[in-house]
Symmetry: D2
Subunit: 295 residues, 4 copies
């Protein structure tokens, strides 16, 4: 037996940059998205369609997001698609529809920005700017959203390490914008049974390392509708401050990501379950509809 019988490497804790680093157990930022707060005791649920497709689709979807307790509406106007021949989004028309949906529902909206030149325009319509996983290391874009006054939802790159993810957020804070929410959305592994491998370990590690709020996207994280609710609940127990969920008024007709979108009914059920789980781990869910009134 050798003198060091246990050949385990010293725990390789990732390091956080000085601006994003958590300094103490109760050092926790709250991001205020036009009234919706993320990072507090209350669990925040962002929901909406993958892509804004039409006025009817967006309003119908926004309606039930609001009704069942979502606090922010999501919807893509500019879509990063693997193929240039796929639907690329409604662009500014999509932004206008999001603004319309906000007016109808009072929900703040978040939408993706893919280009430094879009930041100004998107900021005119959106309450929060999303930087997608494909752009997590687009440092020009990180710098530009860092210079804006809008909250930023930063998604983890598909193969970004915890340390790289935190450094991407550091780029934004360095420009003076500390309203940043981190989002775990599934990593790329060898496994092909799910679209991505949602990594809840990341939630636990990120909450330890940074004061920024951390949310989870089980829709992209799994890519499979029936996996979404259970992974959403597990994410909350793992410590996530919120969720971002793809929902659609008619998932079978979605132009994008229909396979992973929840229907109105499925979303309502998930929200109800979250209301039951949240208090058990010391969190809460602010909802506009009492559970007893849902049915």
């Amino acid at each position: 037996m050798d003198t060091n019988p246990c050949n385990i490497p010293t725990t390789p804790i990732a390091k956080a940059g000085k601006l994003v680093a958590r300094l103490s157990a109760d050092h926790q930022s709250v991001v205020n998205v036009n009234g919706a707060k993320i990072g507090e005791k209350s669990i925040a649920v962002i929901a909406g369609p993958c892509a804004v497709e039409s006025k009817e689709q967006l309003l119908a979807t926004a309606d039930f997001v609001e009704k069942y307790g979502g606090c922010i509406l999501r919807g893509g106007a500019y879509k990063p698609r693997t193929s240039p021949y796929s639907f690329q989004g409604l662009e500014e028309e999509g932004l206008q529809l999001l603004a319309l949906a906000r007016m109808k529902t009072n929900l703040p909206v978040v939408t993706e920005v893919m280009d430094t030149r879009q930041v100004e325009l998107v900021s005119q319509y959106a309450d929060m700017l999303q930087v997608g996983s494909r752009n997590m290391s687009n440092f020009s874009l990180l710098t530009e959203v860092g210079r804006s006054k809008k909250p930023v939802l930063l998604k983890r790159g598909m193969s970004a390490s915890i340390e790289e993810f935190l450094m991407a957020a550091e780029y934004i804070l360095k420009e003076g914008n500390d309203q940043v929410i981190l989002c775990e959305r599934g990593i790329r592994t060898f496994e092909t049974a799910y679209r991505n491998t949602l990594d809840l370990n990341a939630v636990v590690m990120l909450k330890r390392l940074t004061h920024l709020p951390v949310i989870v996207d089980p829709s992209h994280g799994t890519g499979i509708r029936w996996m979404v609710p259970v992974m959403a609940k597990a994410a909350i127990v793992a410590g996530a401050d919120g969720l971002i969920i793809e929902v659609h008024n008619d998932p079978s007709k979605a132009l994008c990501d229909g396979e992973q979108s929840l229907s109105s009914k499925e979303f309502r059920l998930l929200m109800e379950e979250l209301q039951i789980i949240a208090p058990v781990i010391g969190r809460s869910m602010e909802t506009r509809v009492a559970i007893s009134n849902i049915y």
Copy 2:
């Protein structure tokens, strides 16, 4: 816009072999490990040291495992170590100590078997045989434990797909042994912030595809002590039928895996938290000590 605007591949659901496949929503096997049942409504917690080190260590550890509600004692007598110069386990002496601990605590014991030639000997002492992740594709060993009469705890290989994992179990059932428990224990990814990446998606997918009980090992899955309890709770919410947890009466002196072992106090706290969470998702925890009596 092309006619198929949404370039998502059809969900690649893994397939299960005919013996392990779940045939209906309520098709669920229960594995009986000398009285401890896994796969029922009640959550089963297996706990114990990574390696059996000495009589004192094992009995002290077994004592609090039993006291706080563990239903099976784990402990390695034959240890698969990356280096041939690392501690390889106490071998038969370790098996004898496990039998002694069972006598003292009435807990059934599970221990790893690494060699087809060990199956008979280990079966004389253990109530369940563990096939470790490094041996998940050791088909001779799978066949041999399939021929034994003992329940088998089969751990997922570090880079085994869901389909390969299920096929490994099929090898055991094909020999006539249907007392098999599957265990997710972390996969190998690019991330180095944790020892492995515990994959809770696997739990959700496995529960859908097979009637075999599924448990989770957050100790190896993360490799970091403070991550274990939170991932354990998330695993239960993801649908796991139980947990296997490394605990030690003095983790700082453990010959193996001390960095990921819970102390007596940490284990008690986890068990208490699980008792609160289990009912929320329709499960239960049978414990020998009431929560109010713990403190």
Copy 3:
């Protein structure tokens, strides 16, 4: 024995978009970078420092790149760095130095563009625009370089599949720019013994699927200086149309990537070895200095 005894999946050949797809064995594009041709029988070697650091550094390095047979000079003026606190490049001053080096050596220059807003400026100085691996799925940038008249060097994302890589190139061609070179630069795997895992399989597969030239970056692909020459030679035998190599007049003082940069002497030796290997596989090396004169 079952009727399909060999459970191998049907070979999952990636698909190429219609513009990048190779239609026949001799369907091969040649990209002309201000006189330097890539995709012909002759092997093209691009070389230069990771970052443009100073006039002295760049001219000294460019001098030996030209002297030993490099056909294009590389050098970063805008640097994508994980940390916002790392050296970010000399920006426009770096572009000016590249133009100066071109004047002194007659070598065309390639440099990275990270932002759609930089494309016009960088195009004024560079002969080829590089899209780095972090921006391979920055579809706005792909579209913008597709609209420019400059050849584009597109690097594979760290975890991009072959199909995604080809679709990224399709974005550029769709805008009317068919002067695209693909570059394999190492993928992200579990292995930590090298910085990345250079994937020569990708070269073989890409050459089969697309008519675009394919080159290899063994410097980023391995991250280790002494691995560069041997992997460079293996890449040529695997079918690469060229190489991009990090070299520096004084690697020990490099501000960036010194660990993987070749010295003048190491570069000369590699070029000499390539001249010997190229003819064996039916390729050639155009060099300005005869082997016999080198020593």
Copy 4:
């Protein structure tokens, strides 16, 4: 700019155990497999079918392996298959056929051993024992082949790090058997365009770290027939001491791995090409047939 502008981690060189570690540039072991030497200047080519299927198949295949310059015959008698319902090999009958083929061709034979209990029997027939990638961390088996007097061909596990691979070899040498050959055979990554990702970086790193001979299996490494020859050539240039190639007298009818097996004609062509490449990098190929006589 920070004081350490270049945030590259120190090169993480894997470490080798004391018995396998290379101590100097010319410290190179030669493994003698019943007359066939691996680790010398001469490139060694092992070839044969995935599985021994019948007398006719094996002898026809062995015949052209010998004719075109293979130095050792491979063939599986015990097959590790993902599914228990797949063809599992002819077992001892397969071993007898291998012995017959050796008698007919004078080629030494290598075959896989999957179980500690098989080592004695397989050793009676085979000239070299193969430990497959699924058993690379089967430490009981490593110990047992270490106690045998036979050379061992050890394949890298699908997700084994360089360090783990070397430690597996250390297990064998520790038992007194230093006749070990390492084989890179493709790792598991996110890429699905090929069956595995053949990792030639591993060859370069292993040759630096250990004195043991290193060979490459491009058949399993790619899983695609037309990729095999080009990756075989690249492997030799990367420094491999030899190759192991799957060949079959009628690949379309193979019971196993037909998609990656070369025909007689394809094997001949590869051997011819290797004869041309080997001298260029200072190696040689001993062949029984002159190139000019092949056609």
